[in-house]
């Protein structure tokens, strides 16, 4: 027993050191700022409230983790069997101890529950800053996002623009199955459910100006993995400029490839599904293309919006993203190039 006794402090130190090393290593990794969809670098007021809560629970969990696992490890090493048939004292329990580890965790959980519930109610109430909010309706489709700004008369797809410092109130719904709207930098996800409208709000930080990634977070069928989006947090001036640009009808194609492409487009099946404001194209099944040339990606954030990619997409949408609703008659390579030139010109 004396041998074990002298071993004890060293064992405690050792096991705790190992566990702290593991948790600390974990924490550094948990904070990977280079991941564009990281959930722990909030760029909005709502995101920060969630992060504060997460931080509180996380560090409590680390303490409990180190305590419990350390105690377990220590116990196993300290009381491992050294010879067969050892007699050990037959404790059956200790009511005081057991009441203690019923009450103490309850108190710890209460410390989590109170800020949790207050945060729930803050998120459920109208946003605290209501001066000049930006209202956006988000509609999930298999497998792309439609963004409508009802007060600004802007309709776009897959790329959401918001001004820094102004509260965005988001109404989320779906045109088909359940999706989930999620831009981790701004806060948690909200499900897009047909027949229902869910709401959330957040105010992008001034420091968050730039491009952020998001994607559908509720399994929605074949191409769930490729239902992505971008959020651009703009400065106030840039946002206003963007709105002015997006409100305008499609710029008339000048000449050359783009103009040939425009004529081709108006005669094609494209107009049954897509809208280009100011033209005959008034379909509502696919994304609004009025300013498609101003977007950075196509196919719901899958590929960059370059003339080559666009032409490839038009020639073989099922090859790029199997199962998507865009089913076309075969388009010749030269026609595809014309289409792409036209669409690229829609800025």
């Amino acid at each position: 027993m004396t041998r074990a006794g002298s071993l004890r402090p060293r064992l405690i130190t050792l096991s705790c050191a190992i566990l702290f090393a593991i948790s600390a290593g974990g924490c550094t990794q948990l904070a990977n700022p280079s991941a564009p969809q990281s959930t722990v670098f909030p760029g909005s007021d709502w995101g920060r409230m969630i992060q504060d809560l997460y931080g509180l629970i996380f560090w409590m969990a680390v303490v409990v983790f180190v305590g419990v696992e350390g105690f377990l490890l220590y116990t196993v090493i300290r009381f491992r069997r050294r010879r067969e048939g050892e007699a050990v004292s037959q404790t059956h329990g200790n009511t005081l101890l057991e009441v203690a580890w019923t009450v103490v965790p309850s108190i710890v959980l209460l410390m989590i529950a109170v800020p949790t519930i207050s945060t729930i109610f803050i998120g459920d109430m109208p946003p605290p800053v209501t001066t000049n909010p930006v209202r956006v309706t988000v509609i999930g489709h298999q497998w792309w996002w439609e963004f409508r700004y009802p007060d600004l008369g802007v309709v776009t797809a897959n790329e959401l623009h918001l001004p820094a410092g102004r509260t965005a109130t988001i109404e989320v719904t779906s045109a088909d199955v359940i999706h989930s709207f999620w831009v981790p930098k701004m806060g948690g996800k909200v499900d897009a459910i047909p027949t229902r409208i869910n709401t959330m709000w957040f105010t992008p930080d001034a420091a968050a100006v730039g491009e952020h990634f998001g994607q559908c977070a509720e399994f929605c069928g074949l191409q769930h993995a490729n239902m992505r989006m971008r959020l651009f947090v703009d400065t106030a001036a840039n946002f206003d400029a963007w709105v002015q640009q997006q409100r305008a009808p499609a710029s008339a194609a000048a000449a050359g490839d783009a103009q040939q492409g425009a004529e081709l487009f108006q005669r094609s099946a494209c107009i049954t599904c897509h809208t280009i404001k100011g033209t005959n194209a008034q379909g509502t099944i696919g994304p609004d293309l009025t300013h498609v040339g101003s977007r950075t990606t196509i196919a719901a954030g899958m590929i960059d919006n370059t003339p080559e990619n666009l032409a490839h997409w038009i020639r073989d949408p099922q090859g790029v993203k199997v199962g998507n609703k865009m089913v076309l008659p075969q388009v010749s390579e030269s026609d595809a190039r014309l289409f792409a030139a036209y669409l690229q010109s829609l800025r």
Partner: protein
């Protein structure tokens, strides 16, 4: 845990018929209150109480839970209570509780 409940502990035919008379009476009341316009505002609680009474009478006397081993009551009531809790929760979730923030 008590041993066999002797069979003669079950009530006799006379009591069964009395219960049936009460059940008939409650059913008549139920259907009549349904047609009394003045009772419309309190129809819901009245009907709930009356049908709960019918339910309890059948369970206690015809199914003998009043006389039988308490284990049976426990098994049945546990299921019933879970079902009731779930049903009430659903009514809250779908009809009574709505998110406040709706623009």
């Amino acid at each position: 845990m008590s041993a066999h409940q002797p069979e003669h502990a079950h009530p006799g035919a006379q009591q069964y018929i009395t219960i049936a008379a009460i059940l008939t009476f409650i059913t008549l009341v139920e259907v009549s209150v349904y047609y009394i316009a003045a009772l419309r505002p309190v129809l819901l609680p009245v009907l709930v109480v009356l049908s709960a009474g019918k339910f309890a009478l059948v369970v206690m006397y015809y199914m003998h839970l009043k006389f039988d081993n308490r284990l049976f009551s426990g098994m049945f009531l546990f299921g019933l209570a879970t079902a009731l809790f779930t049903a009430i929760a659903f009514i809250f979730l779908f009809h009574l509780l709505q998110p406040r923030f709706v623009t």
